[in-house]
């Protein structure tokens, strides 16, 4: 590399030579030994710095500052869209490799065709958190952001990473004891900088759902492989069941709230909007989720869960753990830890009355989560513990408050 006193920076046009032939391109990055250069053809190549002559450096032509809008549409119905981060609202910065939020909501346009004149969407970035980094405090913060504006809007959309979206959705679901507007979480499995992103349709459907008479916290995601049908799923019955597919978030063992196909929305069983909203967002954070396996060690269980107030155990089958774990359950229960039993099967109900193991667990103090999904049971227990008297815990925990613990399961699709 010629030392002409100037080092290239990102986007600079440079000329260089390989094998005695002149080439030109744009400088992308360098680790000190290798330079990554974008050729005029668009390809990136890597060239050892000492093998190329950087001749002329022309500075990056003023990169057009992308103009962005944080509102969309001109209609009367007002929708607030809060961005928390995650794939849906992210673009890759090719300079640093970092993922940054999309500020311009113009990218939503394709998913909102036909709604420009009936809605006004206000978009606001409240965080840039990959969903795996979310904490209970973030759930509380999001609920506060919603609470600040809930009276000024007809519906709330929260964009969120899909990995822990169902935890946040469940938390909001319990915290908002009553809802005067729908809260719809949505995300994507393919980032918005890809032409094939699922985000456009997911957001479009979320907005359509946010205009409906829904008084629940829901999740809007693809129902299958196609860009055709989007399910609006009750957050407390939702679970991410695939690492990468568009329809990763499924409604587990209970019906969906609505379906959006094209411009058409079909409502299913749901709770209507309340006259007012009530927020109770205290949470007990001393809680843990423990996955039982044949390898589980009683001492490990005790030492992990001793200092908790809530211990949700993902047990096997109907809700069973090994005999050796029953002692620890008793010890934990007696010391004030609420030990809640859920099942690794995800589908079906926990029943501690059928086999003797279950009955022994029950008499040791284990609380059945019945049909409540394991992650939802964790969030619900944290919320119930913090908002109700201790004596009511079991009764409140097992009560079907938001559709999370339906009395029956029927056979159906989706």
């Amino acid at each position: 590399m010629q030392d002409n006193g100037k080092k290239p920076s990102f986007g600079d046009a440079i000329k260089f030579r390989i094998n005695g032939k002149d080439l030109s391109g744009r400088f992308i990055s360098s680790d000190g030994e290798l330079a990554v250069i974008k050729l005029d053809s668009g390809y990136n190549i890597s060239v050892p710095l000492d093998e190329i002559d950087i001749g002329e450096i022309r500075s990056n032509e003023s990169r057009k500052e992308v103009e962005y809008n944080d509102t969309f549409g001109t209609g009367d119905k007002k929708i607030l869209m809060l961005h928390t981060g995650g794939t849906i609202a992210s673009r890759v910065d090719y300079l640093t490799g970092a993922v940054s939020p999309v500020r311009d909501i113009g990218f939503l346009r394709p998913g909102l065709r036909g709604l420009e004149k009936s809605i006004t969407v206000q978009s606001r970035i409240i965080g840039n958190i990959l969903s795996e980094n979310m904490t209970p405090q973030d759930w509380i913060n999001i609920s506060n952001e919603i609470w600040k504006e809930i009276h000024n809007y007809d519906g709330i959309i929260v964009t969120h990473g899909t990995d822990t979206m169902t935890y946040t959705g469940s938390a909001l679901s319990f915290m908002f004891e009553k809802l005067s507007v729908p809260i719809i979480l949505t995300g994507s499995q393919r980032s918005s900088d890809r032409p094939s992103s699922d985000s456009f349709l997911n957001i479009g459907a979320a907005i359509r759902a946010a205009l409906e008479d829904i008084g629940e916290v829901c999740i809007s995601m693809h129902s299958d492989l196609s860009d055709e049908s989007i399910n609006i799923i009750r957050a407390v019955r939702a679970r991410k069941m695939h690492t990468s597919r568009r329809n990763a978030i499924r409604s587990m063992g209970s019906g969906i709230v609505a379906n959006v196909s094209g411009d058409h929305l079909t409502m299913h069983e749901h709770l209507s909007r309340n006259k007012e909203s009530i927020l109770k967002n205290k949470l007990e954070k001393r809680a843990s989720l423990y996955y039982f396996s044949p390898v589980s060690d009683p001492e490990e269980l005790i030492s992990t869960l001793r200092d908790k107030k809530i211990a949700v155990i993902m047990a096997t089958g109907l809700g069973h753990v090994a005999e050796r774990i029953i002692g620890p359950i008793r010890e934990l229960s007696e010391s004030g830890v609420r030990v809640i039993i859920t099942s690794q099967t995800i589908n079906g109900m926990v029943d501690l009355d059928v086999y003797s193991t279950g009955r022994k667990m029950k008499s040791a103090g284990a609380i059945s989560a019945q049909r409540i999904l394991p992650e939802v049971a964790l969030v619900k227990a944290m919320w119930v513990y913090a908002n109700y008297p201790e004596s009511e815990f079991t009764e409140r925990f097992q009560e079907n408050m938001r559709g999370e613990n339906p009395g029956r399961e029927i056979i159906e699709g989706s």
């Binding site: 974008k38 992308v66 094939s196």
Partner: protein, 601 residues
Amino acid sequence: MKDLKVGLEIHIQLDTGKLFCQCSTGDFYDTGETFKRSLYPTSGELGLIDRAAIFELSKGRNFIYRISSNSCLVEMDEEPPHPMNRKAIAAAFSITKALGCHIFDTWFPMRKIVVDGSNTSGFQRTTLVGIQGSMPLHEKRIGITTVCLEEDSARHISQEGDTTIYSLDRLGIPLIEISTDPDMRSGQEAEEVAKRIGEMAISTGMTRNGADSIRQDVNLSLGYGRVEIKGVSKLSLIQKVVSYEVNRQQAIAKAIDIFKSRMNRSRFSVDYIPENEILKNSGSKMIRNSLLKGSKAYLIKLPFLHGLLKAGEFRLGKEIADSLKPYGVGGLIHGDELPGYGITEEEKEKLSAAMNVNDKDSFAILLLQGQDINAICRIIEERMGKLLSLDLSETRGAGSEGETYFLRPLPGRERMYPETDIPPVFITKSIKEEAERIMVMNEDQMVDMIRSKYHISEVDSLSIIKNGKMNMFRSLSDIVGPKIASRVVIHTLPSLEKEFGRTLSDHDVVELASFLKEKGYEQLSMEHALRLMMERSIGPGEAAQDPSIIPLDEEELRNFAGRINSDTRNVNAFISLLRKEAGRPFDPSIAVKIYSEYLKK
């Protein structure tokens, strides 16, 4: 005539398994399952959206994908790509090296934005392997600009309204793309270069054999900008495409000269009048039927274009019509085509009068199915503006007779950004060693290799290579020996292919051979079984099980022989009659034995 410069982009499919997943590049079938997608515009690394992408998106399309048995979540854009196929990396390395290129130590998979739906992701993954190679052509050298390793696109099945249907079977098959410098001066040179490069790749034994396993794009310039002609599937079409395109461009240049001499204002503009009584009562059945089906008819004035739209060598009418096709406008009838289409001279006069057309002007009837007439007029104006500037650069397609047609503008450089789902490929010592083991040969070397290794004649060796069946021959030889293998490859298959108008994959033929070998009658039944596969479109397993391919034993053969007139002239005629009568294979030496017994009687 200005200087003709021709360059090539040659795409060669590899038979190494797909590039970014574990799916097969061998045989597959349609599962019957489909899914539907849309694509949306996004901006690249430097913040701009590619103009070719905008063009495709402006058409507003849906895509249906048919799921083939050789596709998984990766092809469906439902799972991130897996690390790049190592065999394909090695093959790309060895071919690039044989072309004398500078090969990069690190390969960066890129996303090339393609939103015509041919990639479920909305981009094609492509990797620059090497640059600046060259190959000899007689006295000169042809420069190799780049060699890339990329994934093949989904196979186009059909277009139904605004929905395009693709199959996933081809998506993700590794493709080596070899681009040459514009160093060829004729279609003949281009054909020769394409052929040599193709043969070289085939000699590695790692390429796919199939109808579209090697495809060429022809880049051409005659001083009127660069035209990329996509999808020239056969070598024999290259010369036709070049001469069609040269004639086209020269005729445009002449037509534009005439046009300019007539034009008395600075800007070309198109006016229209909506459907009138003349059109409603047109003598043209096509117009009346379209109106009945809900189309709208418009009259547009095409100033100064009389006699240039379609007369003698001039075809500007086709230029205009082609530019409207991507927007779904199929109906355009222009003045130079009239009288015709049921429109009489009298009706033509009336239309001209209605449009206020003088003797230099022309007009056209446009049939629109919902398209905006103003937008369509702007597209025609843009097209004429482009022709007037004599910058004819664009992407064109090639038809089956070598004709070319407008596809889309040339892509800009903003169409490429890094594939962030997989790390760059570092070319390690072990990859290089793997690549070293792959032989890349030219035609002479291949003939020598086949001749010496399999002990067959030079003529036969050459025809195996000319038929593009070297890989099949090598695999077959390992099973049935070179004698039968060469017969199958040189005689049996080509004649069956001609008779049935289709081909069998390497994989199917080789599998059949091993099934038959297991049964011990590979020598006698190959031909019958291959015919069966063609005739009934069945797989090798089924064909090998069919009772009609089991060779007759001596007793059975005698039975059939008994039905033949015993005064047959000679042994060959006898065997040929026996073949017809039996319909099953048999050992000819037994037949000879039976015949000689007859003679003795």
